[in-house]
Symmetry: C2
Subunit: 163 residues, 2 copies
DNA sequence: ACATATTGTTGCGTATGACAACTACCGCCA
DNA sequence: TGGCGGTAGTTGTCATACGCAACAATATGT
């Protein structure tokens, strides 16, 4: 901001990052939509199932936070997974309000199958790179996600209502 | 594949990239949903408007291809933008079948406003880095998108139906 | 014990997107 | 030149996805 010479370059880079991320977003969404037909779960169900498998005993609120969704949406996704017998709903004995979501064996198996297939694709993608480039790529993508998440949290989830 | 020692590392990297990309995807989707309320357009309308502004005279099929959507969906999004007077539909004089989508002044202005706001955020994000790191980040994200797009094209948009 | 806060569920409206059927138009070719 | 297959777009229909608001059930603090 202080030096005028770097500003155009920074702005240009920002535009290009925006474009590249938008493209990546769309193609990944498309891929996910497309691949969902291969399995017994929809895209959002797939992500939710993965969250439940990874953090056994997740509450509905936790699930909503993990997926950046409203708790009502999370509740319904959990419901759909329970209907498919991939997840079981139990009550927390400590706190009668909270629900604990646990993956059933079938759910864990399905998640593992999807995970293995996906990981295989990513492995192909990364094959051509050395370990240090792969690590750098992962770090950068992870950093981007965390930065966005931080930005989202400060705004409280309401960009323009909250000043 | 030949050396057993590198395989676990590659698989591990693939998993981590999957996780990081999933997280990034979700948070960006959330941010987009959240920010859509600031403007007069929905998320998909925003992307479509941007495409139309950048490639004046886009056909509906082109729009669908650019956004990785079905042509019917693209047609309806175009319709909604026409309803809002952000885009005009004209017929190609060369080929009576194709529609040419052109942004109206209001559409271009809205797109520019959104673009400026978004770019500002990205600029903040990139501020801390030197130009070479910024370029590397952009290249990597762009490369990822292209690789996914290539993978999507070979499968023809039907992952498991086509063998 | 009661007011208040928190967890989760449900009603409702909207957005998003695919598939299939249909119309309109193009170009080819007999 | 008149039909025929192919292509561009539109529309009907359906399913999923998501948020907000209202609500019930439970927990907690005074």
């Amino acid at each position: 901001m202080t030096t005028t010479a770097t500003v155009p370059s920074l702005t240009r880079d920002a535009e290009r990052l925006n474009d590249a991320l938008g493209e990546l977003l769309r193609v990944v969404q498309f891929r996910d939509r497309d691949r969902a037909c291969c399995y017994d779960v929809s895209v959002s169900q797939c992500y939710a199932l993965k969250s439940v498998v990874e953090a056994e005993g997740l509450s509905v609120n936790d699930l909503a936070a993990a997926l950046f969704l409203d708790k009502s949406t999370a509740s319904r996704i959990a419901n759909s997974l329970v209907d498919k017998r991939y997840v079981a709903r139990t009550r927390d004995p400590e706190d009668g309000r909270v629900v604990q979501l646990v993956a059933t064996p079938a759910g864990a198996a399905m998640s593992a199958r999807i995970e293995a297939d996906t990981t295989g694709e990513y492995a192909e993608l990364l094959e051509g790179f050395g370990p240090e480039v792969r690590t750098a790529l992962i770090e950068l993508v992870g950093w981007l996600g965390r930065r966005f998440a931080a930005g989202v949290e400060v705004s409280g989830g309401s960009c323009c209502v909250v000043k």
